[in-house]
């Protein structure tokens, strides 16, 4: 037998709702004709029908999960890919900072500035080691 789908479960839930409603209307229309016992029994049946309908509706929601499992997996993987791309883009700033630090070192070398060379090497090192923001 094929598995129940969420749509079918929803239709079943509707049926239980309308049955419960119909029993209620029947009780009120025939209130004086029904014995206390009959009325009580019908009231219990009405209540059970409504509860079953509610349960089926909650169950229908869990069936949706099975029907959408592939889509959920696909979107989760696309979302992680996007995060990866964002991380790559953030690293470009670090690249720029390092390039600027190397350029300072280059200038110091061209100028034969010994102190400047020492400072610049430290600058390049610090920039390279700085955490990615």
């Amino acid at each position: 037998m094929a598995n129940l789908t969420s749509d079918q479960a929803k239709q079943l839930s509707d049926n239980f709702y309308y049955l419960g409603m119909a029993i209620g209307d029947f009780r009120y229309e025939n209130w004086d004709k029904l014995s206390l016992e009959e009325n009580k029994e019908l009231s219990e049946t009405q209540n059970m029908l409504l509860q079953t309908g509610e349960d089926i509706l909650a169950f229908s929601t869990t069936l949706i999960m099975d029907e959408a499992v592939d889509s959920l997996a696909k979107i989760n993987s696309i979302a992680s890919e996007i995060q990866g791309t964002i991380k790559k883009l953030s690293n470009i700033q670090k690249g720029l900072n390092v390039a600027a630090a190397i350029l300072i070192l280059g200038v110091a070398i061209v100028n034969r500035d010994t102190k400047g060379i020492g400072d610049s090497i430290k600058g390049v090192y610090d920039t390279w080691k700085a955490p990615i923001r």
């Binding site: 009120y28 009231s43 509706l57 909650a58 029907e67 889509s71 996007i82 470009i92």
Partner: protein, 286 residues
């Protein structure tokens, strides 16, 4: 003369590159921001499957006049339904957060201050570079960088939107069913149960005084009003999911022209529809 030509060429190159880099991804960014804000309203929804189950237990205890030390409720099925809704919420939200971050300009507005500082040093070796030229170089390098990353981002975004459209349409549709059909549908049962409770009270004439009759009627309509408010809240949330799905479809259909003005206007239309629903939701939620 040569210097003049070089400057003109530089200006032309800058102008052309600016046109390319100005291609903004604002339409995607704005749409994602509105979508995230709207999806996050899920956390504010004043109802859940579990809450429905607990309310049902309370209604039953009242109907049967059962007084126990603690309420006995079996709500495992309803807790499962809430977990499913939560998975949909987390997945859809996660996707739109990523989609919203990628077009964010801050990501590619790299600071070229350090580079500018070096170029304006009075002496760069044997070269002398004046401040204006240094600024032009800096601007050019920044524009080049922006152009390349904008191109990269557009390409990536188009790919993500293309890959995600089919599954996200399914998820938004199913999530809408969970909220506007199933969760809202549970409230219909509560309404019917209340009707039966008050009708039984009326028909069996257990309420005798006029004051009690008036009080019971007021209680009934007050409860109905509260149910109606919750139903509307769920309905508005469901509608916003539909708008998000439509907006994403438009992005998908125009994924290779993400910069076109008409797309920006279209996406803006969906963003403002979503914003209108957000404000409607907030009114109902208070």
């Amino acid at each position: 003369m040569n210097k003049y030509r070089l400057k003109s060429k530089l200006i032309l190159i800058l102008f052309a590159l600016n046109l390319v880099s100005c291609v903004n991804l604002k339409s995607v960014g704005d749409f994602s921001v509105s979508s995230i804000e709207s999806i996050k309203n899920y956390e504010l929804i004043d109802y859940s499957f579990l809450q429905h189950c607990l309310d049902r237990c309370a209604d039953e205890a009242i109907r049967l006049y059962e007084i126990k030390r603690a309420q006995e409720c079996s709500c495992a099925l309803y807790e499962d339904a809430d977990s499913v809704a939560q998975v949909f919420y987390n997945t859809i939200e996660g996707y739109f957060v990523g989609l919203g971050e990628l077009p964010n300009n801050e990501l590619t507005t790299y600071s070229s201050e350090a580079l500018l500082g070096v170029l304006t040093t009075e002496e760069v070796g044997p070269l002398q570079i004046d401040e204006r030229t240094a600024s032009a170089f800096s601007s050019l390098s920044n524009t080049l960088l922006r152009a390349s990353t904008d191109f990269y981002r557009r390409k990536k975004l188009a790919k993500y939107i293309e890959d995600a459209n089919e599954p996200i349409q399914i998820l938004l549709d199913k999530f809408e069913v969970i909220i506007s059909t199933n969760l809202k549908g549970e409230l219909r049962f509560r309404r019917e149960r209340l009707y039966a409770y008050y009708m039984d009270m009326k028909m069996s004439r257990t309420v005798l005084s006029d004051y009690e009759k008036g009080q019971a009627t007021a209680d009934y309509y007050h409860a109905l009003e509260e149910i109606k408010r919750k139903e509307m809240e769920l309905e508005v949330f469901g509608k916003s999911l539909n708008e998000i799905a439509k907006g994403h479809q438009v992005l998908y259909e125009n994924r290779n022209e993400l910069s076109v003005k008409s797309l920006q206007n279209l996406a803006k239309g969906y963003s403002s529809n979503i914003k209108a629903l957000i404000s409607e939701f907030k009114k109902l939620n208070h």
